[in-house]
Point group: C2
Chain length 332, copies 2
């Protein structure tokens, strides 16, 4: 295993220590492994909490800051955060207007966020929850019942964060978050496996001449293994199931997000963006906004995913609104 | 070779087509492989041009935009741009106040930028040039005489770009750029080789239990190969030669930039940031500004580099000034 680390057992907290050192605008609770805006809570404003297993960086802690999340909980690598962590985050960002939990649809995450929400309610904090399930690849997987939550999570966090920053009430922020999830579809692929530090060897074997289509962000199986193919063919294998699942031709435009899995160079992601946007254009889908980069990753996996989210003028305005986080920053 | 591409021979232009599609605020000249701000030239303002071989993305085209570069020239992978490209970029951004060339110290780059500057001068464009040579690893390499230009290039582009945006004259922008280079020191390491698309196999062999210290961003040899070590030991191997080369304890503070080589997860970069910043702290070097991410890459190489740049109040102000590019964006 070739990784930059000291001890596989402490990799999450060691990385969080680096986040704390690099970002004085964040408050990092190393005991609970929770990253919070240093100025939290914002009195009278809805607080946003997300989190999940580590290994998907910059998701989620890299999206904590004005205009996006108020706190993120970091579980062990590919392991759900525990209710205590989530409760600590929820309490830290409760400014009296309620807290929204943004949860990727994995069984452990959903269960632990639910438990934390109950504890928080007992303490007098109103909590709403939106579950993200945008991955069209598989209906059920080793990690969850129903579709998995992947790339659309970032988009939900950005748009809900902008609405919260505008002072919208909890019910409206939650409804917007659900709408973005309903409008979002994703599909991913892997050229190589990832390696979990504490395991020390690749999660799965993929021959030199093979790739996996429909892979999950934990290295869980996708739809099928196929021979290595060109970027044009890969783009078609990702876009077709997305468009088969939802008709975006009617939307005012879409956000096209081409995401790297962690070890894929930006040059290849831009090359893929060209292929994917050409396919959408041919299908009559107009791209209104774009994002290209490694934002929802799977440790050191090589590969990419495509996320398409249908937009309208309001969602575009919220996407464009200022954001100031370690990994996503504009207008501020 | 596992890469997302169609044809190794067209990978650069195929990726540039993606940049054009994703970033309508940029004008991409596919014939010359030059990326220019869509609103160039800015009349009466110094224009900034950089460039070099492709494979280091987001460097350089990802730094084109308000507050940073006006244009970037993309050579073939790890191959200098030719004078025609550089001349096209220089002409495109000449707003009458002269043009600064920011050139990494590789023999071909320096020679071709020099030739382009002569052609541009013949056409009536005043050109100044700053050569970046911040890599303390080796004095000469297969690619250049003298030290190589690596991570400090980004910092020079940012700070010179801010000065140009403030309307400072060419001589002053060039002098600032040289000062940042003088203040900057870098050192890198690799866990794995990169693979050039047109070659199809790794540039060098590195055993499963080995890493290379002092590596260049083209996979050229570093100082030595050593057994795999902990992040703490790697941090020491990178920081010690930097501090041995320059005393930063006297500076008002430094910019600490922990950079990924392309295939290294962000979690590992933050973990390295923690180690490196602790070593600087122990050496009495105060970190005033931070940057963590994969910005000056070497295709799909796993590894990292550390760049330290001595700052004063003016340089901090220019670093903090608004920037709006695909890869670096704040305050705008």
């Amino acid at each position: 295993m070739k990784k930059l680390l000291n001890d596989p057992a402490t990799v999450v907290v060691d990385a969080l220590r680096g986040m704390a050192a690099a970002h004085p605008e964040l408050r990092v609770d190393l005991e609970h492994r929770v990253v919070v805006r240093a100025d939290a809570p914002s009195q009278g404003r809805v607080g946003l909490v997300s989190g999940g297993g580590s290994g998907h960086e910059p998701l989620h802690a890299g999206f904590v800051g004005p205009g996006m999340l108020d706190a993120a909980c970091a579980g062990e690598v590919f392991t759900s955060p525990v209710p205590d962590q989530i409760l600590a985050a929820t309490t830290a960002v409760d400014g009296g207007a309620g807290v929204l939990h943004i949860v990727k649809n994995y069984t452990g995450d959903v269960m632990n966020f639910e438990m934390a929400a109950e504890f928080a309610a007992d303490n007098g904090t109103e909590v709403a929850c939106v579950v993200i399930d945008d991955d069209v690849a598989v209906q059920d997987s080793t990690w969850t019942a129903g579709r998995r939550g992947v790339g659309a999570t970032l988009v939900v966090e950005k748009i809900a964060g902008a609405a919260a920053a505008q002072g919208r009430p909890l019910a409206e922020v939650a409804q917007l978050a659900r709408r973005v999830n309903d409008e979002g579809r994703s599909m991913g692929m892997a050229l190589t496996s990832c390696t979990v530090p504490a395991v020390g060897h690749p999660t799965f074997d993929l021959a030199e001449n093979q790739m996996e289509i429909g892979i999950g962000i934990h290295g869980e199986p996708g739809r099928r293994r196929v021979p290595l193919a060109s970027a044009a063919e890969v783009a078609a294998m990702l876009v077709e199931p997305i468009l088969a699942d939802r008709d975006f031709a009617g939307a005012d435009g879409v956000l096209l997000f081409v995401n790297g899995m962690g070890a894929t160079p930006l040059m290849e992601l831009y090359l893929m963006y060209d292929q994917v946007s050409a396919l959408l254009d041919r299908a009559g889908v107009r791209v209104a906004r774009s994002l290209v980069g490694s934002y929802v990753t799977s440790l050191d996996m090589a590969g990419c995913s495509v996320t398409v989210v249908g937009l309208d003028d309001r969602l575009i305005g919220l996407w464009d609104a200022p954001v100031c986080t370690p990994a996503l920053r504009w207008g501020a």
